[in-house]
């Protein structure tokens, strides 16, 4: 990569920082770890590689369209958006800034690192659950919370309730 190309891709990363997730607009697709790579192809085409969060996430089409729009708006005429499945998306790729924004928005950010959650032994599933970390209520900061539903408004979240302030909240699952 030469210096000019590097400057161009850095600029593209900057623009993508402005593209919000369609379901959680406060966090950008870069903060979420969805954008995996930005390169310039030999013929000057800009290639943005994205990865889906969950296999069936319906937001992916909208995300690809929003990225395309951002590029067009900034005068990038020739671009291509590619999807990459492996390595599989993980919440470990979420930026610290992104986690902070989630919390401020009222969604508890993922706790812990997903790599530690890799399941090797299927019979250990229930034992593992008992060892799961407490989730902090994004509203009052209490760790005295409980899960009310394993699934929430989107694939990536579960529903919880704070036992202290009694408010329900979304938790962005560690994945």
């Amino acid at each position: 990569m030469n210096a000019t190309e590097s400057a161009v891709t850095q600029q593209v990363w900057q623009w993508l920082h402005e593209v919000g997730d369609p379901e959680i607009p406060v966090i950008s697709v870069v903060d979420l770890g969805i954008v995996r790579d930005v390169t310039m192809a030999g013929d000057g085409e800009c290639v943005v590689t994205i990865t889906p969060t969950y296999s069936g996430c319906p937001a992916m089409l909208v995300i690809a369209a929003a990225i395309g729009e951002a590029l067009q708006k900034n005068g990038v005429e020739r671009y291509r958006i590619e999807t990459r499945l492996w390595p599989a998306w993980t919440t470990d790729w979420m930026s610290e800034d992104g986690k902070r924004k989630l919390k401020e928005y009222g969604i508890a950010p993922p706790v812990g690192r997903a790599v530690q959650h890799q399941v090797i032994d299927i019979s250990a599933l229930s034992r593992r659950r008992n060892a799961e970390p407490a989730i902090e209520c994004p509203r009052c900061g209490s760790f005295n919370t409980r899960q009310s539903s394993e699934f929430g408004s989107t694939s990536c979240k579960s529903l919880h309730v704070c036992n202290d302030c009694h408010e329900p909240f979304d938790y962005f699952k560690c994945h």
């Binding site: 889906p52 069936g56 499945l85 399941v119 299927i122 019979s123 539903s149 394993e150 694939s155």
Partner: protein, 251 residues
């Protein structure tokens, strides 16, 4: 050889697709809001996985069929899904029994496929297993809650698990396609999944105070070869209606 891989991928795709369709039938009718959301979210994961498998299958076949053509424009005898997943939703116990048997097997299968010599298959499996780990955890939990619940929930859960037992044999019985895939290091030896499957199922049943049906029971087979129960045609009639009535319709 490409034909066999196409067949193999179709089985993975159709199984995920058909179960996803079944679970979607619960949308808006779940016994509780949380259950409604859970089943539809699992359905969403499965349809996403099915799309990856169909797309790859279409490329391997090389006849220009994409995910939509494969899902919407084939008849029941061309479907290669497991018999288990096409069984009707029945009571909530029936739905959960079907899900539990499938999730445990699905997890074990994907764990093997994640090490496939075919990188594309390994990638799809590696992505999917993270979602399926969550599915199997939830369905295992619910079997315990209902099995070790009230007298009625115990009775219904046991009945459902007994009724669907005969559809589980197919998951471990390889035919020529699966044997060829195993020989090439693309897929696992299906029979090898049976011991860990039985182990997990037995452990959950024990915690749930449920009885394991006879391990040497007679088993149904045929789904993977296109010989289905009468239920699949109705499912496809609903799923494929729009594309059959208005070919090429799109959003």
């Amino acid at each position: 050889m490409a034909d066999q891989k196409f067949e193999y991928l179709l089985r993975l795709a159709d199984t995920a697709m058909v179960l996803s369709q079944r679970l979607s039938e619960w949308c808006g009718k779940g016994p509780a809001l949380e259950e409604d959301m859970a089943l539809t979210n699992v359905a969403l994961d499965l349809i996403g996985q099915a799309r990856f498998w169909y797309t790859y299958a279409g490329e391997i076949e090389g006849k220009g069929r994409d995910e939509d053509k494969l899902a919407y424009l084939r008849d029941a005898h061309d479907f290669r899904n497991l018999l288990l997943v096409e069984q009707p939703n029945g009571t909530y116990a029936d739905t959960l029994a079907r899900q539990f048997y499938f999730d445990v097997w699905h997890f074990l299968l994907l764990r093997e496929l994640a090490a496939s010599k075919d990188e594309r298959i390994a990638g799809i499996a590696g992505k999917s297993i993270k979602e399926v780990a969550y599915h199997v955890r939830r369905s295992s939990d619910l079997i315990v809650r209902l099995g070790d619940g009230t007298e009625q929930s115990h009775r219904m859960m046991q009945q459902a698990l007994d009724d669907l037992w005969m559809y589980t044999g197919e998951m471990f019985k390889a035919d020529a396609v699966e044997q060829a895939m195993a020989e090439q290091g693309i897929g696992p030896d299906l029979a090898s999944l049976r011991a860990p499957w039985l182990k997990h199922v037995s452990e959950v049943f024990e915690e749930a105070t449920l009885k394991l049906p006879p391990v040497d029971a007679w088993m149904q087979k045929g789904g993977k070869q296109g010989v289905h129960t009468e239920h699949l045609g109705y499912l496809l009639a609903e799923m494929q209606f729009l594309q059959r009535a208005y070919p090429g319709a799109s959003w």
